[in-house]
Assembly symmetry: C2
Homo-oligomer: 82 residues x 2
């Protein structure tokens, strides 16, 4: 499982759309707070690999390592209960 | 915007994985409660069109009309705050 603190640091680059608290800042961006960790890992892996396509997320995911993805998923999952 | 009551009825087919309350029943299924409506509509449209691939969701989305999608998005969005 990922590291929540490292995920929080990495999440600086996600907050414009998803919020540092995991609550969406724009209608097309999903809330992430409390999301299941496995789903978040799959989503980021799929954006990075191209299996899932989205202009913004494809770009953002390209720079993520496996550890970054695990940490981000742990962080957003940790944010309260949905 | 969709009809919440019609969405609740239609959501009977979603609840085994996503819960009738929008809280995931299995780790690979995301929570949907309170999710942004626009994101939910896009997700279902993308599964239906094949732009987004997932064995289960591709199958489930195939049978949905535009109205079903709008109603389901309205219903899951209406479920409390995440």
């Amino acid at each position: 499982a990922g590291d929540v603190k490292a995920g929080r640091t990495k999440a600086a680059q996600c907050q414009a759309c998803h919020g540092l608290d995991g609550m969406s800042k724009l209608p097309e961006a999903p809330n992430l707070a409390g999301q299941t960790e496995e789903y978040l890992v799959k989503a980021l892996n799929d954006f990075r690999s191209g299996a899932r396509q989205n202009e913004m997320m494809t770009m953002m995911a390209k720079g993520l390592s496996d550890a970054d993805i695990a940490n981000l998923a742990a962080y957003y999952h940790s944010l309260g209960k949905q």
